[in-house]
């Protein structure tokens, strides 16, 4: 089943077309890779699917709903979470608090509406809410074996752990689909291996994973299906084996052979 789909998605910044008429599908339960040379429009496509940016034209459908012009927080609440290429943790908050922020709306469900009510409720139930969030956040930290760092400030974590924490925070929002933007960037081979295992464990939780990655070993190893972008266009999609032998892809990466 197709969980998320873009149709003829185009994003232009002035005269520069970053993404052009891209049809991109994400099937439920699979790990989908999004690859392409630098500047191919991968992150732009991510931004347009997660509500950080709005397409110039085209549509994004999630679970059958048109989410093209939805706010980022609405899209998150529907079940789409993401991480960033340059880690964007709340650096001045503790490791635990970062995950607790991810739990913000899942804990806050209540029939009471309105701003004043929300503040009053937050005040009265502060302890109860805090304990609940604390417990759930610790579970996510344990999933990543980060529970020992709970009270550290996020900025003090080693790099590899910061990447994991960002994923933990995204997972705390209970997504159906998780976007990872270059999760292995800057990691050593050992950390990358552990990341691959983590991504498989996330898939085993029933979460659909989409990742942008330059590390071909990782992509070819764990992706069930791969889409290739080049100059903002979708030039190929298929299984890792198909992609590896696709002449268009080879050309995009290595350049055309001089005649």
């Amino acid at each position: 089943m197709i969980l998320l789909e873009t149709t003829k998605l185009t994003r232009a910044y002035g005269g520069v077309i970053a993404v052009s008429q891209v049809d991109f599908q994400v099937r439920e339960g699979l790990i989908t890779g999004l690859i392409g040379p630098n500047g191919a429009g991968k992150t732009t496509l991510f931004n347009n699917m997660t509500g950080l940016d709005t397409p110039t034209s085209g549509k994004v459908h999630f679970n059958g709903t048109d989410i093209t012009r939805h706010h980022a927080h609405t899209i998150c609440r529907m079940g789409i979470a993401r991480t960033f290429q340059n880690i964007r943790l709340f650096k001045e908050l503790s490791v635990l608090e970062n995950v607790m922020v991810g739990l913000h709306f899942t804990t806050g469900k209540s029939p009471t509406k309105g701003r004043v009510a929300a503040v009053v409720r937050s005040y009265l139930k502060a302890k109860q809410e805090y304990d609940l969030m604390h417990e759930q956040a610790m579970r996510w930290l344990e999933f990543f074996k980060l529970d020992g760092f709970a009270d550290e400030l996020a900025k003090n974590l080693p790099y590899g752990h910061q990447r994991e924490l960002e994923i933990a925070r995204a997972l705390a929002t209970e997504p159906k689909i998780l976007f990872l933007d270059e999760p292995a960037a800057g990691m050593n081979p050992l950390e990358t291996d552990s990341l691959m295992k983590t991504i498989r464990r996330i898939r085993d939780l029933g979460i659909t994973v989409v990742l942008i990655e330059h590390d071909m070993k990782l992509v070819m190893n764990i992706c069930d299906t791969i889409t290739v972008l080049n100059y903002g266009q979708n030039i190929a999609q298929g299984t890792p084996a198909e992609i590896r032998h696709n002449p268009k892809v080879i050309e995009a990466y290595l350049g055309k052979e001089e005649a």
């Binding site: 950080l52 927080h73 609440r77 979470a81 607790m100 502060a126 302890k127 805090y130």
Partner: protein, 305 residues
Amino acid sequence: MGSSAEFFQHLMNGLTLGGIYALIALGYTMVYGILKFINFAHGDILMVGSYIGLFIFDAIRGQSLGPWTIIAFFIAMLGGMIFSAGLGMAIERIAYKPLRKATRLAPLLSAIGVSFILSNMAAWMWGTKSRKLEYPFDNSPLYIGEVSITPHQILILIVVIVMMISLKLFVDRSRIGKAMRATSLDQDTAKLMGIKADRIIAITFAIGSALAATAGFLIALEIKVYPSMGTMTGLKAFVAAVVGGIGNISGAMVGGILLGLLETFGVALLGIPYGLRDTIAFVALIIILLVKPEGLLGKVEKEKV
């Protein structure tokens, strides 16, 4: 009077004044923390809040003094707070939010405009004559040793301390407080965590404005209420926020109290003429900007890459 008694006397006076500055400074600093914007109408929201509190109190306090008077006092304060909270949110919605994507100068100018509109409206509706909260309780000083402290000062100190502790607990421990901190650190990422940043901003304005109204009402008790009262008080509280480190909640508390103490001790012990009292804050501002521009508790912000 012994010199140590005199010292404690000024300390008490400085703490009450500083506590009031701190309450106001919190509003500036919280809004700045989230929007990187100085709400120059903050002082005028304070003024409106104190008028509303004053009116409510006059309407409900009755003639005779009694336990009801103190209850009425707090009801009036709460009324002023709620009204100001609503006013603050409305101003944000109408005058600032539409300009959030404009140049940084635009909301600033809009805030100055709102400030003038509020103080002129107040002068037109309520007159320019200053009013005072009629002394509802016996304000003859109590003596602890040789130090005298008035019941009003005690009341002010209690209100200020309760407000500060509740705010600190709310921001540090509650779910919405956490969302506020996350939004102030990185608004886009906060949104991606499902936080309704617009609502968090509205709540921030509501809380800041309510604190300002509280401060205004306490000023009404000690000094007086008039349409332009927000201008100088607001500016000084803004200075307090900058001195403490703008964007930092503890910084605003420290900055406010420090400023109150500086003004009191500056006049009393350093012999600064009373007429120059208002300049103390701004001299302190210039010094802090030269020596530690990020403020006492502020952090140097690195440019995002």
